[in-house]
């Protein structure tokens, strides 16, 4: 457990000092919000409101991919990743540390992006902010668990960052579906539908187990 906390601390301190990752993710997702605005057929309020969940989660997915790639690109500097591979003990804890750090940084970006969407799209989240946060947390847990596992693999292949979205997006279709459904009904003020919560919890559980056990095998040569 200590290893996971050490890695979480290391990632957050590194990010706090460099701040490059959070800023890049934030600018990217807010920029996506703006671009979507121009991409929409018309700017009528109800069009914006109905499309917001889908657009919001699309921006989140791509910001997540940016952050996950960066999270392991940092480990490649000075081959620090081999330093992690050399550590004794189960590597699942290393996975937990990295996933937790990615989760915290992504949640920060998601919160600020939600504000940007609220501002640009005139959508009022405040009434159901708590429920929305819950849905976002649940989905982000799934994104960060399988995302951390796949990023650790993708960044060490010859395709580097290009491979991550190709590996990750098919795996996130169920998560996206659950997240968008949850967001839709939360924004409609009906609270979080049980079906979305159940789906997301099942996926999170599966991906956390696969990633925790699988990480053992991907740090080796």
């Amino acid at each position: 457990m200590n290893i996971a906390l050490a890695i979480l601390w290391k990632d957050l301190v590194t990010e706090w000092r460099a701040r490059e990752r959070v800023i890049a993710m934030l600018l990217f997702s807010i920029l996506t919000a703006v671009i979507f605005y121009f991409a929409l057929p018309d700017q009528r309020p109800e069009t914006l409101r109905t499309l917001t969940p889908g657009l919001l989660w699309t921006a989140y997915l791509f910001a997540a991919i940016l952050g996950l790639n960066r999270s392991f690109a940092l480990e490649l500097e000075n081959e620090a990743l081999s330093g992690l591979a050399l550590a004794p003990g189960g590597r699942g804890w290393i996975f937990l540390g990295k996933a937790a750090a990615n989760f915290i940084l992504l949640s920060l970006v998601q919160a600020l992006t939600a504000l940007a969407f609220a501002l640009f799209y005139g959508v009022d989240f405040s009434s159901s902010a708590l429920n929305l946060a819950a849905v976002i947390m649940l989905a982000t847990l799934g994104i960060c668990s399988v995302g951390t596992l796949l990023a650790a693999m993708a960044v060490r292949t010859r395709l580097r960052e290009v491979l991550l979205p190709i590996l990750l997006l098919p795996a996130l279709v169920p998560v996206l579906s659950g997240a968008v459904h949850g967001t839709l009904s939360v924004m409609a003020g009906e609270g979080i539908p049980f079906s979305s919560v159940q789906l997301l919890i099942v996926i999170d559980g599966i991906y956390l187990v696969i990633s925790f056990l699988g990480f053992e095998y991907i740090l080796d040569e």
Partner: protein, 232 residues
């Protein structure tokens, strides 16, 4: 008899079609130091990565203290420093200590900074270190969990003269303190002066073995030159 610190038997390593190592066998006892001398591409680094547990041999067995591989017994210093540029020297060591489950990581970090006399730069970020200082910090990191066997892969490359002599001095001190290490280098001088035994590695195989009295820089460079002529 107690099992050796490190035992390699018929180690083979093939990357797809390329065979990097062909049946290498090697024993290293507690406190013994060995240097592996050979041209680039002879497979020395591959062998070291296998001993470190970073790579698995295609065939052959590897035992550390009589049992299968145990990463707690190994300290590895490769070409790369494994350090995080944003973290300070002290933070890097504390992180490495916690990673290896070392009790009281802060105290261990300070002790290592003392030993490698890096205390004055403890609070500076590792990213700003010169190659020589980064190397000293990397050695401290490799020794954080008091490994029984220290692996050094071409530690002298890229160092200026004072740094080379300091590092050589350091390795001799460690040896005298009973720390066994396995040094990979392509410099004859280092290979002969620092270790108890020198092995010449050519094209993935141990070609020659010199130890004790016969291991002098003069003797080693002659044999090494002859072995290189045979090979080409």
């Amino acid at each position: 008899m107690t099992s050796p610190l490190l035992r390699l038997k018929d180690i083979e390593k093939a990357y797809g079609p390329i065979t990097a190592l062909r049946n290498i066998s090697l024993d290293l006892d507690h406190g013994e130091t060995i240097s592996l001398l050979g041209p680039n591409g002879a497979g020395k680094s591959t062998l070291l990565r296998i001993v470190a547990g970073l790579a698995a041999p295609t065939r052959g067995t590897l035992e550390i203290q009589g049992t299968a591989h145990d990463r707690r017994a190994i300290g590895y210093l490769g070409h790369a420093t494994l350090l995080y540029p944003e973290l300070t020297a002290r933070e890097n060591l504390i992180f490495a200590a916690r990673l290896h489950g070392v009790p009281k990581p802060a105290r261990r970090a300070d002790q290592l900074l003392e030993e490698e006399d890096l205390s004055p730069v403890a609070q500076r970020r590792a990213g700003g270190f010169s190659r020589g200082m980064a190397q000293r910090l990397a050695i401290a990191r490799a020794r954080v969990h008091k490994p029984s066997l220290l692996l050094l892969d071409e530690p002298f490359t890229g160092l200026d003269v004072p740094a080379i002599s300091r590092l050589s001095q350091r390795l001799i001190e460690l040896r005298n303190a009973g720390q066994s290490w396995l040094l990979v280098t392509h410099e004859v001088e280092r290979a002969a002066m620092l270790a108890d035994t020198a092995l010449i590695v050519l094209r993935g195989q141990v070609a020659e073995r010199l130890t004790g009295g016969e291991l002098t820089p003069q003797n080693l460079s002659e044999i090494y030159a002859k072995a290189l002529d045979l090979q080409s």
